[in-house]
Symmetry: C2
Subunit: 334 residues, 2 copies
DNA sequence: TTGATGCGCTAAAACGTTTTAGGCTAACCA
DNA sequence: TGGTTAGCCTAAAACGTTTTAGCGCATCAA
């Protein structure tokens, strides 16, 4: 069963295709189509259930009402929650989202950009990785709106929305120090993105400002793609071989591995051993004792992203790049 | 900067558009284009970075190489993990996924179907809700492949992939009974989908087969869209007013609310009080004590879905509907 | 009476592909 | 010699829209 086209409607209504198109696109008044014709055509459209072919429309107009969302991994709760919020907000403004995960793989990221490009998405929301600078620059040169979030790429001049990773980290460490902690470890990853290095820098700076010398052996860098079991082993080794009274985990999944490690070596969290996780997680609230976490305000981030995108889409010329740094919230539990 | 079109390539290579198209689509041999021309054109394409406009291509061919995925909520880990797996597998076969969440809202689900329809997606993967039967039937009548997963709609004849909810539930309850439990509660939701009623039925049947009379006051039905706090209150009320020695939670988020409730009333899980959650969750492994859960084999489900889709896409005629019921795994912890 | 203006509508081009049908040349066969 | 075949390539239609340019008519001002 072929679906209806605008032509079918035109024939049924005994008017031209043009007239139908004007009515569909709300330009009937402006083009002075008579009330009677408008009514008739609308009725026929209603009754027949005709829906314009978006592909033909995109081909003609050059835009798609689709926003491409490129993230690290949709199965990570931080991203899936952001995706959901962005989707909701975009939807209300008549935009759809296509998403895809890069898995921190440069080639896949590049492919995704090409794919979205050939689908003529109207705008790009990207949580970028190093190595795609050129591709993004090309998008910008072609006049496409691009918003980075969560992570920034310093060499590319485009708008960015992200949490204040540096200060979040700094304040957590300062908190530890205020509680009298002396041997503070950092569990981080080796992916080379600004957001992770900022968290690392906040840690360093807080120690420094408090006259504590930075000790590299208290910093554990986990390979991004390694098996969780290996991660757990490395964390166990750190905890067993070093005198540590506080730990900051730089992502929630590292914290979860850390909790598993603690369980295995039967080390308890308490007055003499504290931990904080970056990014909250359902498990933390439920854990005994409950785990403190740095919360990123997802709602605000999503809202800021959508606002920036819509501004860019509705303005003709290119807007200056904006950087929105959103403060985080440290949730201290138990 | 306008992007290149096939015409630009044709002009540069001094051949016709048709020839370029044949080469791009790998039909050069078949259409007996000379090796020299093939080389020349390929080189020009390579050097210029030309990428075919997928929209024009879709308009002409009527297909998009896109599969639409309609789920309840991308921020629920069951769905986001399935989505990720499906995405991966589809990607390897040259298909892209567009997803969107229905939030169990019939109108939104219908809108999404229309949206995907007007984008001419090649196939639909849907975790359906009651009330969209007609819309899905129209898709099928138009010859579109549609696969249901997680939940089925008995009135619609199309392929389905899902876990064996009935038996999973039955076996969990049987396990409780074997441990000597007598007062077994069920915490479920009021959404009217097959998968939930099957879980409920498994519970009933297991009790019945063991000569335990079904007691409606031990079954708590939670409204789908209510605030979590209210859910927690209701669960607390159940636990405080009834003598209960085991509980099956019908979804992982209900189990999480249940755990929070237990914490608030300081009721401990142990020899005299056991719980099982349907669908695993990271928090369960970490909880003290660890929480038993029914695991759905996500990988297998995703694989089965993709296989069915690809079969349908590659066959001309309509294939008979298949039902794949995949066994679950009960993970008993602590 | 004429020229301008407004109203209600439409023909046709354009967007960038794929694909059908067929053109032209040279070689081959009888 | 003429007819067929094969090899290499192309013109043009079609997909379903949006949009520009403009047509025919009535009204109005001068």
């Amino acid at each position: 069963m072929k679906s209806l086209s605008i032509k079918d409607i035109a024939v049924k209504a005994n008017v031209s295709i043009t007239t139908v198109s004007f009515i569909i696109n709300g330009k009937a008044k402006e083009k002075s189509i008579s009330e009677a014709v408008i009514e008739k055509v609308k009725k026929i459209i209603e009754e027949s259930g005709y829906k314009p072919n978006q592909i033909a429309r995109s081909l003609r107009t050059g835009n798609s009402n689709i926003i491409g969302l490129i993230i690290e991994d949709i199965s990570n709760s931080f991203f899936s929650r952001i995706a959901r919020l962005i989707e909701d907000k975009a939807y209300k403004r008549g935009y759809k989202i296509i998403y895809s995960s890069t898995e921190n793989n440069i080639d896949k990221a590049k492919e995704l950009i090409n794919l979205f490009k050939s689908r003529k998405v109207d705008a790009y929301i990207i949580s970028p990785i190093k190595g795609i600078e050129e591709d993004v620059q090309m998008l910008l040169d072609d006049g496409n709106p691009v918003i980075f979030f969560d992570r920034n790429l310093p060499d590319v001049k485009t708008s960015y929305v992200g949490a204040d990773h540096f200060n979040a980290s700094y304040q957590s460490i300062q908190g530890f120090i205020d509680q009298g902690k002396k041997n503070i470890a950092l569990v981080t990853t080796d992916i080379n993105v600004a957001q992770i290095t900022e968290r690392h820098d906040g840690y360093k700076k807080a120690l420094e400002d408090n006259g504590i010398t930075y000790d590299d052996s208290l910093v554990l860098k986990i390979h991004f793609n390694q098996e969780e079991n290996e991660t757990i082993e490395q964390i166990k080794a750190l905890f067993e071989h070093r005198k540590i009274d506080a730990v900051l985990f730089v992502t929630n999944y590292l914290a979860i591995s850390g909790l598993k490690a603690l369980k295995q070596i039967d080390k308890k969290i308490g007055d003499d051993f504290a931990i904080i996780a970056y990014d909250d997680h359902e498990a933390f609230e439920l854990h005994t004792p409950r785990i403190s976490a740095i919360q990123q305000p997802l709602e605000e981030i999503a809202e800021a992203i959508i606002k920036l995108i819509l501004n860019q889409l509705s303005s003709k010329g290119k807007l200056p790049a904006e950087e929105l740094i959103i403060p985080t919230r440290l949730v201290l539990r138990d």
